[in-house]
Structures are given as structure tokens and as C-alpha cells.
């Protein structure tokens, strides 16, 4: 979707340049390759979706079962296991952490790109360097900290961890959007007597809104899919959807159909969010691509 929209003007330009040359064999080859690649990437998702509607015994046959009578048994057994609390926890953690991230990252990015505080390069690199340490290296201190302050198995704790996890990426992303803003617009606003607050609210935010939306969506997806912190820091009250998902994996017995059904359910909110934000997302990700 992204590429389609982003390249549309370029394509039109190319088409007018060499009218009639559209259906060259080379183009067909590229088209086929694109379709093959798209299908190859989409197939596992489709297979997961289909497997969710099979019986366990059909889900694990060799060769795979392609024709089958769809059943809702797996979805029923998922709801029998009280899916709602996990869903609410995941939503809370993703939404809360995303709000925190955007609120913290926007001023930080402003300071590092528009206002350019001293040693901004070092600061930016420091932000990025926090992502270089593997998560597993920080889990024990985090776990002990959470135990000592009584925040183990607490969704606020998980939201804060996700905020910290996504903040560096958000700062970098928003900074790149801010860097694309024409200086002249900001200068004009200042000449007109706009305060920092007004400049932020009335000039900068509307202009980078698509970028903020793209950043928020990415942070939300990262938080939604996060497993390691979730499984380590929660048990019953704050467990999120990924933790719920792995609960179907067993070493004794069949589980593919139910796991697929549960994965489909888990992916739905993210797909919906992505679909709703699609227009903004495309603009946000290609912001500054064409000047």
C-alpha cells in the first residue's frame, strides 16, 4: 500500500514520458515478481487465518489439509478461556505507553532538531545507544526493582517499561520529521510574535501530524507485540495478549489450530489500527520524500 501510493505520481510521470511503452515484457516480469513476493509474504498470514478455522487433527496433517469444513470450535475455546482481561491489558499498555512516548518524544525531538541544544549529536546517539543493549540484560534489575516497589504484575509498570523501550525510536522518527520542516515557516511565525507554545501548537504539530501518527502507530505495534517484558514482569493481573497466546503451546498434544485462531484474534486490533491510520501512515512515512 505504502509503495503504491507513494510511487503513484512518479509512475504517472513515467507513463506520460514513454506513452505506449507500458506493457513491455520487462514490466510484466517485474509485475509477476512483485505479485510472487507479495503472496510469499502474505501466505503465512493467510495460512494462520485458515488454520484457525480447522479442527486440531486437520491442522497438523502432512500433506497439509487445504479443503475442510470451517469450524468455530477453536474461537469458542479461546473465549472460554477468558480472553478479555488480556485484551484490556494489552490495550491499556499500548495506548498508555504510546501517549507517554509521544508526549515526551515531541519536545525532545524539538530540542534536538529545531532548537538544537548543545551537544545534540551526543544526546541523539545516547538515545539510540539505549536500544543497543539487549532487553534480557536489563530484565533482572527491572524485575527486582518492580518487586521492591510492589509493581510486579502491574499494568502501569509494563506501560512505563514500554515507554522507555519506544522512546528512543520515537525521538529519532519525530526528529526526522521536524528536520524536514521549512525554516522559513517557523521564522515567519516568530516574526509574527508567536510564542514557543503557539509555534508548537499551531505551526509545528499540524505540519508533522501525519508523522506523529506514523510514530504513534509504530510504537503501539511494538508495545502490542512485545513478549519478553510481558512474560517476565506479569503473572495473572497484568498479562497481555502475547502471554495469552503462548499459553496454548503444549509439549503433549496438538495445538496449532487453537494457536492460529488466537493469533488471528491478537492480530486483528493491530490490523484495524493500521487500516484506520493508513492514509496518515503513508503520508507520514513518505513525508519529505518528495520535495
Amino acid at each position: 500500500m505504502t509503495t503504491m501510493v507513494a510511487t503513484a505520481p512518479a509512475e504517472r510521470a513515467a507513463a506520460t514520458r514513454r506513452r505506449g511503452a507500458r506493457f513491455r515484457p520487462g514490466n510484466i516480469g517485474v509485475g509477476i515478481a512483485a505479485w510472487v513476493a507479495a503472496l510469499a509474504f502474505f501466505f503465512p498470514v493467510l495460512w494462520m487465518f485458515l488454520t484457525g478455522f480447522k479442527q486440531e487433527s486437520q491442522a497438523s496433517t502432512d500433506p497439509p489439509t487445504i479443503f475442510f469444513t470451517p469450524t468455530l470450535d477453536q474461537f469458542r475455546s479461546i473465549f472460554a478461556r477468558d480472553f478479555a482481561p488480556y485484551l484490556i491489558n494489552s490495550l491499556t499498555a499500548s495506548v498508555m505507553s504510546t501517549i507517554f512516548v509521544i508526549m515526551l518524544a515531541t519536545p525532545a525531538a524539538y530540542a534536538l532538531s529545531v532548537a538544537k541544544v548543545g551537544r545534540w549529536r551526543d544526546a541523539l546517539f545516547f538515545f539510540l545507544s539505549t536500544r543497543m543493549m539487549p532487553a534480557v540484560a536489563s530484565i533482572l534489575p527491572l524485575y527486582i526493582l518492580a518487586t521492591n516497589i510492589g509493581m510486579l504484575d502491574n499494568i502501569t509498570m509494563l506501560s512505563l517499561v514500554y515507554t522507555a523501550m519506544n522512546l528512543p525510536i520515537a525521538v529519532w522518527m519525530i526528529r526526522s520529521f521536524l528536520a524536514e520542516l521549512p525554516r522559513e515557516v517557523l521564522e515567519a511565525a516568530r516574526i509574527d510574535g508567536a510564542s514557543l507554545g503557539t509555534e508548537m501548537r499551531r505551526i509545528i504539530l499540524p505540519m508533522i501530524a501525519p508523522g506523529l501518527a506514523a510514530t504513534a502507530l509504530i510504537c503501539m505495534i511494538f508495545a502490542w507485540n512485545e513478549f519478553f517484558f510481558a512474560v517476565s514482569l506479569t503473572s495473572t493481573r497484568a498479562a497481555t495478549v502475547p502471554v495469552f497466546l503462548v499459553g496454548f503451546i503444549t509439549s503433549e498434544g496438538l495445538f496449532w489450530a487453537r494457536l492460529s485462531a488466537a493469533s488471528t484474534m491478537a492480530a486483528l486490533p493491530v490490523i484495524l489500527a493500521g487500516w484506520v491510520a493508513q492514509k496518515w501512515l503513508v503520508r507520514g512515512l513518505s513525508l519529505g520524500a518528495v520535495k
Binding site: 479442527q55 486440531e56 487433527s57 497438523s60 496433517t61 502432512d62 472460554a80 478461556r81 491499556t92 498508555m96 501517549i99 524485575y143 527486582i144 518487586t147 510492589g150 509493581m151 510486579l152 504484575d153 502491574n154 499494568i155 502501569t156 506501560s159 510564542s195 507554545g197 503557539t198 501548537r201 499551531r202 512474560v231 517476565s232 503473572s235 495473572t236 493481573r237 497484568a238 498479562a239 502471554v243 503462548v246 499459553g247 496454548f248 503451546i249 503444549t250 509439549s251 503433549e252 498434544g253 496438538l254 495445538f255
Partner: protein
């Protein structure tokens, strides 16, 4: 100007919304903590089918115990082990009941992580003497009982009676590994998509090593002698591993290096294997016409032997109460309910008699409905479990309790490394000799580093 005058209310709204959000979440978190302080028992468990049944029947427990709420944390085996270990080691005390295996029970008891259950179990009508003695031994440490079995399993050989009859073969009452190899050669039918035998080849100490170690023991081999000298290159050990690897390479299931219990269950259940040597719990799935195409066509005989009289393994998924639990009495209420005689009947009546947890209580095998529903495999299962000697399963004495694993904490890592070498041999990437030479080296390093070898 207009912008500035509008900005104040906007800021106030934003500010109050944020404050509400923060307050709201803190309030929620607070309420959650309050619930925890009540009589909520948190159970950490694996997702095996019998455990899912407990979750379904917990409503009955809550009805009989109105003051106690039960919450489940369901995770795959390895994650569960990591989580519970982390919780106990940091004394966080999040779990009141944990599901552990026979491998963990003595090790964790030795570490002082588990509550001794003898005091609880001897009271009331729990009838601890009814627990299958071999399983009870496996869950004990220095004469104390530290976990009670939810279900128990051994291993046996499952074979397709119809395919044997068609080929004019007869399965002896006590087959040897050589018999099994001969049958596999005769029954292997590559065109018909039927493997001679399904055997695990998937790396993992609980995967390929489980059946393989029983073969090593019955061939007279062993991992370690009494002084913790590694013995993985002994001729007996090598003979066993060679037989196993060749058998699965020549007549085993396709994709054997990636096949574990679940894959073999599928192969056997779909009619793609003539024999399968694995856990006794497989039988209840194979005899269920809903998931299996071969229900009623399978015979069950004891694990193949060579030099020992019996060769089955012993495993049990058991419930234990961590020493860090703050609600031990309530935890025991739940544990004793889920492992009681009445629970077996409850499962039978509510979910079907074939789903009763096997191998934990002798009295289960006296329930007429269960005997009928599990007629094909109940007796072979009980016989297999009862005949295991957990203290000395092989020809030689060993300094730990347990059959298809070495009862030291380091075995998880050692076993995984060795299993990867074996799996590579099954895949044909190296010879059995090379695999065992490396395994021997790993084993020597492990006991030296762990301070076992003096």
C-alpha cells in the same frame, strides 16, 4: 491573540484528562493488589490437555471453597520453568501452586524452594498411600514428599495391530530393540506413506533424549558412573545410540530431526507410522476417534528391552507449593482437590472417562467406568509405571533419582547440547561416533565445573 486565549482551556482539559488517566490506572492497580491479598491462589501451569481440564473444572472447586479464588498462569514448559525459578529465587512470591516434573521435584526440594507436603497430605481423606509408589518416590527428596502427581506417565511401544496382521507378524509380549528394528524394516512402506516406526529426533533434553536414554539404559550404557565419570563413549552406550539413530534414519518418519512428541502423535494418529515408542499418555489421544484415524487398531506392549527387565521411563506432572507462597493453606486446598480421588470422578462424569488423568492414583484403575473407557491402554499404562525403578533404572547404580534424565540442575543445558549432536547425527550431518565424542566432552566439562567429580 485568539490562539492564546483558546489555549488555556485546551491546556486545562488536556491536563485534567492526563491526571484522570494516571489516577485511573493507579486506582485500577490498587484494586488489583487488594484482590491479591485476599485468598486468591495463583497457579502456574503448562498447557497440556489435562491441565486445560483443571481450568475448566475450577468452577466446581470455587463452589466448594467459597473463600478461595483461583487464577491460572499458563505458559509453555521452558518459559514456565524460567518464570517460576526467577520468582522463587528473588522471593517475589507470585505463585502459590506450580506445576513441576519429576526432574525438578528433588532438585528444587534440595534448594529449599518447595514446601514439604507430608504434614498436609497425611490429614483428612487425601490417602497418600493411594498415589502410585514409583511416582511418589520420584517426587520425594530425603523421605519428604514435595509434590503430588497430577498425572503420571511411563513409556511403551504402540503398534498397529492391523498392519502387523496384514504382514503376518506377531508382536511378542516383551519385545527387544532387535525385534523392533526387524519389524520396522518389514513394515516400512515409503510408497504407502507409512514409516516403519516413529521415534523422536527433535533436539531438547525432554525430546529426543527421553526415548533414547531408556534405550541406552537397557543396553547397559549410562551417562555417568557412581563417581560422576562421563560414560557416553562406552561400547554399550554407543550400541544403543547407533541402533536408535540407524533405525530412525532408515525406517523412521520423514523429517525425523524435527519430530517430537506432537509430530509423532500426528503421524501415528493419521496412520502414517506402524510403530511408535513414546509416552503412555499418547494412548488416550490415539484412542479418541475425534483426533485419530487409528482408534481401536493399536496394541500396547512394554518398552523394548535388551539387558534389563524393564525399560520404560517415568515422568509425572505434579503440583507443588513454593516455599515463597504466602497462602500455603489455601494452596494446599487447591492442590489436594486437583489430585484427589474425587477429582478423577469429576473429570469422568463431566468431561468423559477417557480424559481422567492417568498414572497418579492406584484407585483410578479400579473405577469401572475408567477401566471400560480406557480398556485398550489402562492396564499397560499402570504396569509400565509400576515396573520402573527410579533409583536404578539401568544395570549400574547411579548417583541420582530418575530414569531418562540426569538429576542435576546442569542437565538442562548439558542435555540440550547433547541432544543437538544426536539430532545432527539423525539428520546425517555427522556420525554417531562424532556425536558421542562431543557429548562425552560436554558431560566431562559439566561434572568438572559443577564440582561433582572429586
Amino acid at each position: 491573540m485568539a490562539g492564546r486565549s483558546r489555549s488555556r482551556p485546551a491546556r486545562a482539559v488536556l491536563g485534567s484528562a492526563l491526571a484522570a488517566l494516571l489516577l485511573g490506572t493507579t486506582a485500577c492497580a490498587g484494586a488489583g493488589v487488594g484482590g491479591q491479598d485476599g485468598r486468591t491462589v495463583t497457579v502456574a501451569t503448562v498447557a497440556n490437555p489435562q491441565m486445560q481440564d483443571i481450568e475448566k473444572l475450577t468452577g466446581d472447586f470455587k463452589k466448594d471453597h467459597p473463600g478461595i479464588d483461583v487464577k491460572f498462569v499458563i505458559l509453555p514448559e521452558n518459559e514456565l520453568r524460567d518464570r517460576v525459578t526467577q520468582d522463587i529465587a528473588t522471593r517475589a512470591g507470585q505463585y502459590d501452586v506450580v506445576t513441576i516434573g519429576t526432574y525438578e521435584a528433588p532438585i528444587w526440594a534440595k534448594n529449599g524452594w518447595l514446601t514439604k507436603l507430608d504434614g498436609y497430605a497425611s490429614k483428612g481423606g487425601y490417602d497418600v498411600a493411594d498415589i502410585v509408589p514409583t511416582v511418589r518416590d520420584a517426587l520425594s527428596y530425603e523421605d519428604g514428599l514435595y509434590a503430588v502427581p497430577f498425572y503420571g506417565e511411563s513409556s511403551f511401544l504402540m503398534y498397529r495391530k492391523d498392519l502387523f496382521a496384514k504382514a503376518g507378524l506377531t508382536m511378542p509380549a516383551r519385545p527387544s530393540w532387535q525385534d523392533v528394528a526387524n519389524f520396522a524394516a518389514k513394515l516400512d512402506d515409503k510408497q504407502g506413506n507409512v514409516a516403519g516406526i516413529c521415534l523422536r529426533g527433535l533436539p531438547g533434553w525432554g525430546e529426543v533424549l527421553a526415548p533414547l536414554n531408556t534405550a541406552i539404559l537397557t543396553f547397559g550404557g549410562r551417562w555417568f558412573d557412581e563417581d560422576w565419570n562421563a560414560r557416553l563413549t562406552d561400547p554399550e552406550t554407543k550400541k544403543a545410540v547407533e541402533l536408535y539413530v540407524n533405525l530412525v534414519r532408515q525406517y523412521g518418519e520423514p523429517g525425523a530431526p524435527n519430530a517430537g512428541f506432537s509430530e509423532c502423535l500426528t503421524a501415528m494418529g493419521q496412520g502414517n507410522a506402524a510403530m511408535w515408542y513414546d509416552a503412555t499418555v499418547a494412548a488416550s489421544s490415539l484412542e479418541d476417534p475425534k483426533t485419530s484415524k487409528v482408534a481401536g487398531k493399536i496394541g500396547y506392549v512394554p518398552a523394548p528391552t535388551v539387558k534389563t527387565e524393564h525399560a520404560g521411563w517415568l515422568w509425572s506432572w505434579a503440583l507443588a507449593v513454593p516455599e515463597t507462597s504466602k497462602k500455603k493453606d489455601a494452596a494446599w486446598e487447591f492442590v489436594s482437590w486437583a489430585t484427589s480421588k474425587d477429582y478423577m470422578k469429576l473429570v469422568g462424569q463431566r468431561l468423559g472417562w477417557a480424559r481422567v488423568p492417568p498414572g497418579s492414583r492406584l484407585s483410578t484403575y479400579e473405577i469401572p467406568e475408567y477401566r471400560k473407557a480406557a480398556a485398550a491402554f489402562a492396564q499397560p499404562t499402570l504396569d509400565a509405571i509400576r515396573s520402573v525403578n527410579v533409583k536404578q533404572p539401568g544395570l549400574h547404580p547411579q548417583p541420582w533419582t530418575g530414569v531418562h534424565y540426569v538429576g542435576i540442575p546442569e542437565f538442562q543445558e548439558l542435555g540440550t547440547k547433547v541432544s543437538q549432536e544426536i539430532s545432527a547425527a539423525i539428520a546425517g550431518r555427522q556420525s554417531v561416533d562424532d556425536a558421542l565424542a562431543k557429548a562425552q566432552q560436554y558431560a566431562e566439562q559439566t561434572t568438572l565445573k559443577g564440582g561433582y567429580k572429586k
